[in-house]
């Protein structure tokens, strides 16, 4: 029982991140409205970014900006004092790409509404099969 408890305490974050990813995936597959599908896609993307950033965390470490910029030549910089900067930098690019995709998807939704006057997927399917 106690090592189940230590297992939960060590890994509960990962389980919650997986739950968040699955909520986003469910929104993308099962919802009818196109805008809700886009929202589900964005929830999925931010959950993955959250997972990546959490890998780079170290216990009792501070933010990745050098503390004493001027006398760093004397004291050695220990890598265990700062959190991992590599995961943060990769995820910056991911956030930029996600906002570009979101803006473009909204433009596509507006265009679809101009043409078919609806944004529900089953009505769209009916109108497409009528043409």
């Amino acid at each position: 029982m106690s090592d189940l408890l230590t297992l939960i305490v060590a890994k509960y974050n990962y389980w919650l991140y997986v739950i968040l990813m699955m909520i986003g995936l469910y929104g993308m597959i099962a919802k009818n409205n196109l805008i809700k599908k886009i929202v589900g896609m964005n929830i999925f993307q931010t959950a993955i970014i959250l997972f990546y950033v959490s890998i780079g965390y170290k216990k009792d470490a501070t933010i990745p900006i050098l503390v004493s910029a001027h006398d760093a030549h004397g004291a050695a910089i220990r890598a265990a004092d700062y959190i991992n900067p590599l995961t943060s930098c990769l995820m910056l690019t991911a956030i930029v790409v996600s906002v570009a995709t979101f803006g473009y998807a909204m433009a596509l939704a507006v265009r679809i509404y101009q043409r078919y006057q609806t944004l529900e997927e089953d009505e769209l399917r009916m109108r497409l099969s009528e043409e």
Partner: protein, 81 residues
Amino acid sequence: MHWPIDIIVLTLVIFCAIAALSVRDLLGTAILFGAYSFLMCLLWTIMGAVDVAFTEASVGAGVSTVFFVAAIFRTSRRTKD
């Protein structure tokens, strides 16, 4: 890092995500989505990744919500599901 803050913010994030996908009014989805972005930004600040948090605050809770509301303004606001 204090684990109660982590648990509370993560639970709120999951509630916001489920609520944003279930509400029938698309303006409510936009506001809940903005709240979800803010809570994510808070989570990343707790973990120490301040650059990512800054980017998510300016992009997700700023510009992304504005795009969403502008798109709803030009399409319909009600949805059946």
